[in-house]
Symmetry: D2
Subunit: 394 residues, 4 copies
């Protein structure tokens, strides 16, 4: 394999890099270098100048189809009433399935949603000569909390340092800085504030042998037990109570059958070591994230879930899901881009003070999808639905 020197194949960059011309030149480069035609990719409807801060080496857009499900009836503290939910996906059946769940829970009286906690982290590690020094450092951090907070918050208008958890192993102390971050998802805010605080600490505290701004105690873009326990982003619970007749009419099954299947899923999940004893929350979360300009990679964390259901004395079915690490924003990241902003506006979630509303809508949507897929599996309709609506042509 003879390879061209890396320089020959260098992707062109320009002073005015966020422009139609620059992106066209890069597509031309790809055509010359890789023989690629990017005609549909080139079909975007906005001024690339908007993209500074969102992407580098811009060449165009992925057009991801959006379908609408609803009305979703939410009885939350921040979201209240009916919503039409934009879901960006390429997987047939997904929108129809969520839509079916929304119909069921609308007739059941809607989905109650509650934001239980709200916190974003960065977790640096500090290494010392021995565990004893690590312990002493922890005591100093506790005693110095006010000063550390002041330093951390000096870098941000909206971020607030709530507390610093400590975890020790070997001669290291891991600090988990817990922030509230307003309408932003807050990873960058938390990173910058923690960095500032750590620099302040390192200038003052002697004997730090090793330092790392992140060492897997905040697990950004990864799923972890600590985030299931302690929350990352929003911890949201969505709940509904469903009369048995509705389950039969719309879902073609019964609460008893759903509950029995749920028990077996719990047992299977305990064996498999799964991060979610529910059905497929990632589907709804991903589709909403893609439509509304969230950082989709957070699905890695946000896909964790805790499902709990109960057969009620009156024959009804109580169904709940808790999403312990739902990372959403209505400000920053991709939320201000054209299609993404339109989708946020469709939900009444664009701009200041809307992030918990969005979190509630996501959780309510997820619950609808849980009961819909769960019912389809139990009623034996799951494969047929995919044959009808999906690209099930093996």
């Amino acid at each position: 394999m003879t390879l061209p020197a890396a320089e020959h194949g260098r992707i062109p960059r320009f002073a005015d890099d966020y422009s139609r011309a620059a992106s066209a030149r890069r597509r031309e480069f790809l055509r010359e270098t890789a023989g690629a035609q990017l005609e549909h990719v080139a079909s975007y409807s906005f001024d690339p100048a908007l993209l500074a801060g969102n992407i580098e080496n811009f060449v165009g857009v992925a057009q991801v189809p959006i379908g609408i499900a609803g009305p979703l009836l939410v009885c939350g503290e921040h979201a209240s009433g009916e919503f039409y939910v934009p879901l960006a996906t390429t997987e047939g059946t997904l929108v129809a399935s969520y839509n079916r769940g929304m119909k069921l829970l609308h007739r059941a009286g809607g989905v109650r949603t509650t934001v239980m906690d709200d916190v974003m982290q960065r977790a640096p590690a500090f290494g010392f000569d021995s565990a004893r020094e690590a312990r002493a450092f922890g005591q100093w951090v506790t005693a110095s909390f006010d000063a550390i907070r002041q330093e951390a918050e000096s870098t941000t208008r909206t971020g607030r340092l709530h507390d610093i958890e400590q975890f020790s192993a070997s001669r290291f102390l891991f600090l988990r800085f817990n922030f509230t971050t307003g309408d932003a998802a807050g990873q960058n805010l938390a990173g910058k504030a923690t960095w500032q605080a750590c620099n302040w600490i390192r200038a003052r505290y002697p004997g730090i042998r090793q330092f790392s701004l992140e060492s897997n105690l905040a697990t950004d873009k990864k799923s972890s037990q600590i985030n299931i326990l302690r929350t990352r982003g929003k911890r949201v619970t969505a709940e509904a109570t469903i009369p048995p007749d509705l389950v039969r009419e719309i879902m073609h099954t019964t609460p008893e059958q759903l509950f029995q299947a749920r028990q077996v899923s719990n047992l299977g999940g305990l064996m498999s070591g799964v991060n979610n004893n529910g059905n497929h929350s990632a589907n709804g979360i991903t589709a909403l994230f893609a439509a509304t300009g969230q950082d989709i990679a957070n699905v890695a964390e946000s896909s964790a879930a805790l499902v709990h259901t109960e057969l009620l004395a009156d024959g009804g079915y109580y169904y709940s899901i808790t999403i312990p690490a739902l990372i959403v924003a209505t400000y920053g990241g991709g939320t201000g881009l054209p299609t993404q902003r339109e989708c946020l506006e469709l939900l009444g979630c664009y701009g200041a003070g809307q992030v918990r509303k969005l979190a509630e809508i996501v959780a309510a949507t997820v619950l609808c999808g849980e009961i819909s897929l769960g019912s389809a599996v139990v009623a034996g309709e799951w494969v047929a639905a995919h044959d009808r609506l999906g690209r099930n042509r093996p």
Copy 2:
């Protein structure tokens, strides 16, 4: 809260539902019902007739910006040579960071990639009167494997049933059907074939008290230890060996420092119960999935990773990542949609026989991002990079 009856707010559907007119009417409906303007969403460049099987209630598209990173030098069995990688994201710094890693590993001689395993699952559960009956059923399944396989494969041209793993708990036997699925991701194929096989089983084997087509032993759209152990989709390893001078020149750090930080990340990850001891593989995987029409929700599973590095005797740095559940397709799902297909073609991965090539490119891309972010954290450049390139304006 007075609510309109669900019917009033019903989303319009039409006989010719996959048309510009139908999507326009739905947008109109959303304008009337929710006051939403969807102008950019309406700006798509293809005939909606293409979308049958990919979405329901189509209203338009999310335009997700694509940036290009490369050249990525891959030394795989299916992917070989230089690639320009389309990354769809709204997170500033991401493309630049992967690009930096690609530059480093290009100069280091490229990324070796190997597909270690390839298997897709569906895992039904069967309940009996007691554990003893469950055990007897397991013996019957083993003895009947050829017939079960024949039945399963009768539903598919490309799927092949490789084996059926058995896991028991209480009076249930969980079967994990392991398929190869050609160029498709294969979840629907595996679901349909397993459904067929299970119906055959249930018609023949007496005493099955409970049946569920899925009970958390395949953990679709969820992260699990079983999939880390046993693979779901492709298990791919990407490796590189980096001379120390290059680490210093391009990454502004040293192999020793990177290795020390890695050790602390391993320790932190063991404490936090993380599904990935690496840095942020979900970022690259999500961006590539969004660009190339993969089912992005699979990031929930595909974000698991096993990182192993070594300091070599000559001062060099061996860096590897194994992605145990990388779910990719070059056929089916969203891969044939216009922008998605163009991006696959850019990588030479569109059409038959390309799926392992795509898997190798994804894994190689991920490795570049791992070393780039890891170095930025160690070199203290991570926050500054996000200040410069991201929307770090808290």
Copy 3:
């Protein structure tokens, strides 16, 4: 701190080291060196010559009190009928609690027990230049299985190599050798046979850069998801069906209340990342292990459990526990020592062909303890019981 040279304080050893005289001389040494009186420790009732192969530097015995619970009614395939179970413990309430559970399940018709699987492991790791070589090695291992098995089995009369599972990560291949081991627990047998097989492999297969006989894929003396999934030792399920009246009469609660509490335990366990969604199987297992000469350290693994219960249509309560890694022996280890052998004989489990009987008795005992403690917690009697029977005098 001035320290004596290590030699001064050397523990005395003798040619005839397993003798009363030798142990007396060591106790004398401890009296001189550490001022310790070991009078009760010195009170043992057997000839220390028996202890060769069981301990080094013998000085005497721990006298751990044994209480009897029963009759335990077992309806197993290997254990059938009533048993009086010796439990060695120092924790007040434990024997009484298991006894209460045995009374309940006796009146409910006994405990059904089933050994679902039986396998012991050693899991060596082999390192190569790259992942691709690791994959090739795996193919060679598969092709060479018969020869490897022959080599492994050459070191043992009773051990049989059932299969070799393969797990890959980075440039390593982990092999999990699965043996059946007769009446022995089999760790040493499996270790020796695997060592022999690996030496044979290493002499024949070129390119192995690194080798380790064990690398955490068999997790001896540790709890792991792989052993919960794939069994280590015996996988045993114990089941019972309890009429509601008995629950009320003996346990002072109802199946409904027990079931509700169980649901919350499942939810809590999913959050906490526990290896056992039951109550306290380790208590019964440890007490039986200590009494019958098992390797008590295996409680680390054997304490994992999967509990599943059901509320039946007739109001009864189905209760089951699956112990996926129950490591027991009726031959070898401590099973032949005097008190340990007497306790095995009390259960009719001493000598050849009894190991599955013992496994069933352990599992049945555990189930009795689960329902007893679970009921005490739900009925609000747990603290009072410990006040009455335990050393609850804080």
Copy 4:
């Protein structure tokens, strides 16, 4: 199977139940009922009156052989100097292996030990009509902490309620009460104090639909990620730095080889989902627990461990182990029984104010065993050692 009525086989109990006569009558009963001879079991050296609060239905003792290892050189804050460590086990090689590690680390300057944290839990769950009520309850608990603490501490002389952690899922709030418990292990103390506090809460707070004193957020007798993160009992770190020459001379290997093997164990452990990336801490812990009257069943939790090692610039080897859930007592439970007390006295750990000293000795012992077994595996001596010293006669 015809069964005698349970009453016929009833275990005899007496007014003066903790007496030689009562235990003799029970042994007689076992002889008549089960044909069992319990002669060695009957050979105990103390007055059974001592056993009230430790066991029910006493029949005799398990004589578990004790071997001595040492001198162990500890450089702790509570334990300082040389110790001879009593290890009760029936597994040949164990004492010799720990002894070898103690020799190595003595010559290396001893083991530094640090108690990093000290806390014991009980974790009740409270259920409500909805998640929102659960959240409100959490706020009330926070506001009422002083009163709750006062109530909890009213039941104990030595226990102190440090804080109450909150974890939410569905419509439940799980409270984790964290106590310090003096020289007792403290599970019963924590249980009783929490029970008292919960009764106080339930009398005052309206709307509690469901209550359970324990729901798997404290995971007594079970291993969990939460306890690895947050400590249960003592969190102790043991560390040593070993010159390379000593590794070669005593262990017949090198720091480099040990470190390489450790890396592969970390990788394997990440795949297998193990609760301990070390070698076999359960062995030493169990043997010390059995000798010193600890609740051996706690090995289920105490066997979790976090191992971290470093190759130092001078060629030396830094080796550390953190035991995050080491549950030990020098008061209460079995610590006051005759042989158990003698063994505690041998370590200078009997009586008031000694519990952290004991924790340090356990951790130091464990570290010696880690390096000894790890070296034997790497040096290829592990199987031969078991052939020589164990009952390796398959």
